[in-house]
Amino acid sequence: MVGIVGYGTYIPKWRIRVEEIAKIWGHDPENYRDGLMLEEKSVPYLDEDTATMAVEAARGALRRAPHVNPKSVGALYVGSESHPYAVKPTATIVAEAIEATPYLTAGDIEFACKAGTAGIQACMGLIRAGYIKYGMSIGSDAAQGQPADALEYTAAAGAAAYLLGEDNVIVEIEGTYSYTQDVPDFWRREGERFPRHAGRFTGEPGYFDHVLSCARGMMKQMGMSASDYDYIVLHMPNGKFPMRAAQLLGFSREKILPSLVVTKLGNSYSASSMLGLAAVLDQAKGGERILMTSYGSGAGSDAFSMLVKDGISEVQELAPTVEYYINRREYVDYALYSKFRGQLKGFG
C-alpha cells in the first residue's frame, strides 16, 4: 500500500508577535490573540524563500528515509502560492539540490493552501500505477499578507516535504478523498503582490463547507467515525477555524491540539496542514490513526486517512522535529520584519 516513507520540515527562525504588528496599525491585539488564537508567526529572512525552504524540508524527508537513493525519486512536486519565479519551476531547483535529477518528472502546483496535498495525491497515483518507485510532494510558502490587512497577522513561512512509496512505509495512506468547487474567496491576480480576500465569505462557504464536507466524505468512504482516529489535522488559517471544524466533526480538543502549530507559527499556507501532520508524526506511535484535511481557497480540500506503522519510531529523530523548529526562534520588531519582507521602499 502507498504510504509515507519519509517526511521533513523547515521553519525560519525569525518570529514577530501579534502585539508588534497591532502596535503599528493601532489594532487591538486581543482580537488576534483571543479571537483567532494567534500569538506569533514565522518570518523568513531576506535570503529565504519558497525554494530554499522546500530544499531544507526535502533534505529532512530523505534523512528520515536513509534507504532511499534520491535518484530513485521519480516525481517531485512543489505546491506553493509564492513560487519565486512566475515562469520557471521551483521543483527543478529542489530536485537538483537533493540530487534527484535528471530522470524524473517535476512540476510546480498552485492551489492556494492545498497545492502540496494535491501533489501527494499525484504521487500516489503514479506510484500505484507503477510508473515511479518514489515520489515527493512539498508544500512551501513565504506567504504574502498586505500590511494592515488581517492576513498580515497570519501570513507566515515554512515548508513540509513528504516522500511517498510502497516499501519501508512509516505511515500507510489508507484512503484519500477530495471536495472541490469554484469559490472565489481568496485570490491573487497575475502581477499583484498581495492576495485579496472576500472577508467573511472565506469562512462558511469557503473553509467550513470544504473542510467539513471533505473530512466527512473521507470518514464515510472509510466506514469510520471520529472515535476511530487518534488525531485530526486540518488546514490552519488561524487557530479558531480548525478548532471549530474539529469540534463540528466530533473530535475532542486533545485530538487536534498536537497538530495546532498555527498559534506559534502563523499560517504557512501550502505548508500549513502538512506541518501540522509532521508535528503529529513526530510523536505518533505505531497503530495510531490520523485524519488529515487540507484546504485551499478557490476552493478545495483533500483528505487522507492514515495508519501509523511501528517503523516510525526509528526515523522520528533522524531529522529536526517541528518542535525543534518552533523552539528555535528569535523575535524581530516591525522595522526588521519590513526589511526581511522587502517592504521598505528604496531597498531590496
Binding site: 487591538d28 486581543e30 482580537n31 472576500a198 472577508g199 467573511r200 465569505f201 462558511e204 462557504p205
Partner: protein, 398 residues
C-alpha cells in the same frame, strides 16, 4: 401638526412570510424576495393574480448587488405581471415606508389585496463597502463627505445622551444583552449567541463609546405581508391582524440640523399620530419592535415612542422590564441587533414578528403572553424618517 384622515377601510394583515436573516451566501436578492413572498402567499391561500399591486422596500439593490428595478424583478418572478410594482426607498426605513404605502392603498379603498415586501442582499460586498453604501442614507455632502459613518453618528448621540442623562456604559450594554437573549430563542435570527455585559464591554471598539456588540450586523433577508380590507380579512385567514394605524414623519437628514441630538423628533411625531389614529396610548402597548441599529437607538426609541419618559429608559433595562416576561417586552425577535438588519427588509420583518406574536405563534419562551396590541418602529438614516405602526388582534372582525 394635525391632519384629519379620510380612512375608508380598516386594514388587516392576512398573510406573512420571511426568510431567516443572516449571511445567505447561496441565495440571491431575487431568491430571498421570492422565498418570503411565496410563503406569505401560501399562508393566505391566495393566487398571485389576486394581488393588485406589489410594494417592495429595498434600500440599495444597485449598490449592494448591481440590481436596480427590484420591484419589477420580484413581481416578474412571482408571476404577478401585469400588476403594478413599486420599489420604495427610505434608507433603513424602506420596508416600513413600503408597508405604509400598502396600508394607504387599502385604507383609501383603492385596492382589495396588496402585497408589501422588503428585501436586501448586503453580503455580496465586504463590510467596509457596506458601511460606505449605508452612508448614503445620511447627508452625503455635509456629513459622509467629512468621514462620518453611521457608527460615528450614533456614537455622537450616545456620548451626548450619556452626558445629558447619566446613562452608563454598562446600561447601554444591557440593550444588547437582552436582544441577544431574545435572538437566542428565535430560530430565524442572524445572531443566536447569548452574551453578557462584560462581553459587550470587551468587544472591539468601533466608534467610542460604541463597541462591536453595540452594533447590529449586516444581514441578508426578505419579508412579505399581504394586506386586505378588514371586512374581507376572514376570506383569507382565521387570525387576521388589524393595522390600528401606520404613521410616518420626517426630520432633518443631518444630525447637526436637529433640535435635540438626544431625541428623534420624527419618531415622536409618528408615534403621536399613530396613537391618535388608533385611539390608543403607550400604556396599551403589550410589546414593541423598535429600531435598534445601535444600542443607543433602542434607548432613544423607547423614550421617543412615549413608552417611558425622557432620560428614564435605562431604568427599564436595569430592572429587566424589556425582556419577554417583563412589563414592556422590546424586540422580542432579537431586534436589529440579534435578529439582524437586512435594511430594506427590516421594517417588514418587524411587522411579521408582531403579527406572529399577536397570533400567539411565537416559539416557546418567546411568546408574549396574552399579547393584544403591538407596536413597530422603524427609522431611516439617523432619524430623518420614522414610521410607527400599531397592530392589534383581529378578534373583533366579523
Amino acid at each position: 401638526m394635525n391632519h384629519s384622515l379620510n380612512k375608508r377601510n380598516g386594514v388587516a394583515i392576512v398573510g406573512v412570510g420571511a426568510t431567516p436573516f443572516g449571511e445567505h451566501w447561496r441565495k440571491s436578492l431575487r431568491e430571498l424576495a421570492l422565498e418570503a413572498s411565496l410563503s406569505a402567499v401560501a399562508e393566505a391561500g391566495i393566487r398571485g393574480k389576486d394581488i393588485q399591486e406589489f410594494f417592495i422596500g429595498n434600500m440599495s439593490g444597485g449598490m449592494f448587488t448591481g440590481q436596480e428595478h427590484v420591484a419589477a424583478l420580484v413581481t416578474d418572478f412571482l408571476g404577478l405581471n401585469p400588476a403594478p410594482a413599486i420599489r420604495v426607498e427610505a434608507a433603513c426605513a424602506s420596508g416600513s415606508v413600503a408597508f405604509r404605502q400598502g396600508y394607504v392603498a387599502i385604507a383609501s379603498g383603492l385596492y382589495n389585496l396588496v402585497a408589501v415586501g422588503g428585501v436586501e442582499k448586503m453580503t455580496d460586498v465586504q463590510g467596509g463597502w457596506a458601511t460606505a453604501i449605508l452612508s448614503g442614507a445620511m447627508d452625503t455632502e455635509w456629513e459622509a463627505y467629512f468621514g462620518v459613518t453611521f457608527p460615528g453618528i450614533y456614537a455622537m448621540i450616545a456620548n451626548r445622551y450619556m452626558h445629558e442623562y447619566g446613562l452608563t456604559r454598562e446600561q447601554l450594554a444591557k440593550v444588547a444583552v437582552k436582544n441577544h437573549y431574545h435572538g437566542s430563542l428565535n430560530p430565524n435570527a442572524h445572531l443566536r449567541n447569548r452574551i453578557t455585559v462584560e462581553d459587550v464591554l470587551k468587544s472591539p471598539l468601533v466608534a467610542d463609546p460604541l463597541r462591536l456588540f453595540d452594533c447590529c450586523p449586516i444581514s441578508d433577508g426578505a419579508a412579505c405581508v399581504l394586506l386586505a380590507p378588514a371586512n374581507e380579512a376572514r376570506k383569507y385567514t382565521d387570525t387576521p391582524i388589524l393595522v390600528g394605524s401606520c404613521a410616518q414623519a420626517s426630520d432633518t437628514l443631518s444630525l447637526f440640523g436637529r433640535r435635540d441630538m438626544c431625541t428623534l423628533d420624527a419618531t415622536r411625531h409618528a408615534a403621536s399620530q399613530a396613537f391618535e389614529e388608533s385611539k390608543l396610548s403607550p400604556e396599551d402597548v403589550d410589546f414593541a419592535e423598535v429600531h435598534d441599529c445601535f444600542t443607543i437607538a433602542e434607548i432613544l426609541a423607547t423614550e421617543d415612542l412615549g413608552l417611558c419618559s425622557k432620560g428614564r429608559a435605562a431604568k427599564l433595562y436595569d430592572e429587566e422590564q424589556t425582556f419577554i416576561g417583563g412589563k414592556l417586552p422590546i424586540n422580542t425577535d432579537g431586534g436589529l441587533k440579534a435578529a439582524g438588519h437586512a435594511v430594506g427588509a427590516t421594517g417588514v420583518k418587524q411587522i411579521v414578528e408582531a403579527v406572529r406574536q399577536l397570533r400567539g405563534e411565537a416559539e416557546k419562551g418567546r411568546q408574549v403572553k396574552g399579547a393584544e396590541i403591538g407596536l413597530t418602529h422603524s427609522v431611516g438614516g439617523s432619524g430623518a424618517t420614522a414610521v410607527v405602526t400599531i397592530l392589534r388582534r383581529g378578534d373583533s372582525i366579523p
